[in-house]
Symmetry: C2
DNA sequence: TGGCTTCCGGTCATTTCCTGGCCGCAATCG
DNA sequence: CGATTGCGGCCAGGAAATGACCGGAAGCCA
């Protein structure tokens, strides 16, 4: 019953946009009798989406949060907002959520009407490259293309610039996209070489889906992340930063927020700990709080602080 | 037909997770004959969701992007990722999208099963407070609550600390949430005062929905943004930053990305322009690039640079 | 080229269930 | 107390969904 299904979706959509709807109005909009509307509401409830009803003079229906996420019916604006949000999250704005975001993004992008997709691509430049991002700027479109390949089990072609600089053309079955350190890696079965390979996404160019599907192979060892770690020579150097600061912990927390932990060490002093790839970041924090501090570790941070401080003072010196 | 509708949703869900599905498998999962499956696919097409079918030995069905966004059927992970992404976007990670993101977020949050909502709340602290955020930390939960009030046309109560510091309790009909400058404002009809009022969200505390609905009133002048602008005395002071830097434009672009514009002024020099609320940000850029520079404007930036530079050097001096 | 797989859509008999109308009932508000 | 609004049982007519069967077409492979 195409009619019924469509009507149910419209009903869901209505219930999702406004919070309350009087039954009469819903029945009106859906062009059914109020008896049928009641039955539709029942059907939604049977599907597990709790529709709350209140009686009385200002009664109405309301969709509540239930055990499962109902199908999200989005208008253009919302769809774009979601895509944009996922893209910034995928770009590393919320650490730990890069992979999940990319997967969700691939799904959304794939379903997004072309006109909306264009709107999002037009904002391409806005995907601020990680803000002092450790790595090179990453093309969000490429990332989603690859994610779509993994999701859809579809073969891909791309050009790859190896570490040594030579460029090769590849034809692979993409399996997993993994974010390690600050970099994205694709784990794939190389069709020409007949073996598993890992590729750094920032070294791939023009990834395209060929449209040919494949049956996923068993991943050696079962876990792509451990497999990747074992393959990747260049382990990201991370710095464990620890600095004593003579300022109340409160003030510091307001500045660094999530990006570090602040322990109170005294009434007006605290220790800041961060784990970063790039020392610029703690340097900036220190430059901002304008309070006396002592670097505990790592030693390189002292150098970085000195360089930044000198660079700043040199800039304002009359030249 | 609860059965049919539910099946259509399941079909949509299946088509959204993997990219290709052989017809037989779909029919199997949905426990219908393959003829019925074909009819279901047709129904989806009639609803405007283009389902692509390919024949031949590895044929199958595939949901394509169409004219309208299909109902998104999300699993837990995806729903959380979307909520997280929207929250960071609402917090200002993508300028210009704050309001849209908040609206979409309100919708998602409202439908999110409690267990997922808890997961997101647990990440509350991660909404890094704007990264040196110009304003005070904003409670994302409060923001969503207010947005839900606007969306659902539901009255709200909250405590409000006026500029002068006195705290009052308010009872309002929330109409619009607007992000102006770096601040959020609620435009609402104050029930006790019987007039329109604007409230700064960061001055509201414990906003709660009362559950009572209201009919939206006509907004004076029609446009909430112009209305708000006319009411708000405190225009956010923005700094127009301009700095000459002796480094290739390329290098700078990689650092500042979207957050500023870089003009080439010579082979190895360029001008950086930014428009910011908070001078810490350009200071950090300057400290990072480690290249000679000259501040053109604003004058306050010179002071800020000096303060930061001195603070940094003082910190590493043996004390 | 032939064979295999897979999707396509027409037809038909059967069964399901959707719909609207009618009713008495219950909850809520003023 | 009365008005409003949702709730759900019952009924009858009719629409539609389903499964089975079919010949056909398109793509892939040897």
């Amino acid at each position: 019953m195409a009619n019924t299904s469509a009507r149910m979706l419209r009903l869901l959509s209505l219930l999702q946009t406004h919070r309350y709807w009087p039954g009469g109005e819903l029945a009106d909009r859906l062009e059914v009798s109020s008896r049928t509307l009641r039955r539709d509401v029942d059907r939604l409830r049977e599907l597990g989406y709790p529709v709350d009803a209140s009686r009385g003079v200002a009664g109405g229906y309301q969709l509540q949060a239930g055990a499962a996420m109902p199908p999200l019916l989005l208008d253009d604006e919302e769809a774009v907002a979601i895509a944009i949000g996922l893209r910034t999250a995928a770009a590393g704005a919320v650490s730990g959520f890069e992979e999940t975001s990319v997967r969700a993004l691939a799904k959304v992008i794939q379903l997004l009407p072309p006109r909306l997709r264009r709107r999002i691509d037009a904002l391409q430049a806005m995907t601020s490259p990680g803000v002092f991002g450790g790595g090179p700027t990453l093309d969000a479109t490429a990332l989603t293309t690859i994610a779509m390949g993994c999701r859809g089990e579809e073969r891909m072609r791309f050009a790859y610039t190896a570490r040594e600089g030579e460029e090769t053309r590849r034809h692979v079955e993409p399996h997993r996209l993994v974010s390690l350190g600050r970099r994205w890696y694709l784990m794939a079965w190389d069709l020409e070489r007949g073996d598993w390979r890992s590729f750094r996404v920032d070294r791939m160019s023009e990834p395209t889906l060929t449209g040919a599907r494949f049956r996923p192979r068993d991943i050696p060892g079962g876990d792509p992340v451990t497999w990747l770690r074992s393959r990747i020579a260049s382990v990201q150097t991370r710095h464990e930063v620890s600095v004593l600061i003579e300022a109340p912990a409160e003030r510091l927390r307001a500045t660094v927020g999530y990006w570090g932990t602040v322990e109170e060490t005294g009434e007006a002093s605290c220790r800041l700990r961060m784990s970063v790839d790039d020392l610029h970041w703690p340097v900036m924090v220190l430059g901002t709080i304008a309070a006396p501090f002592t670097v505990e570790s790592p030693p390189q941070l002292t150098d970085a602080v000195r360089r930044a401080g000198e660079a700043l003072l040199r800039g304002i010196a009359p030249s």
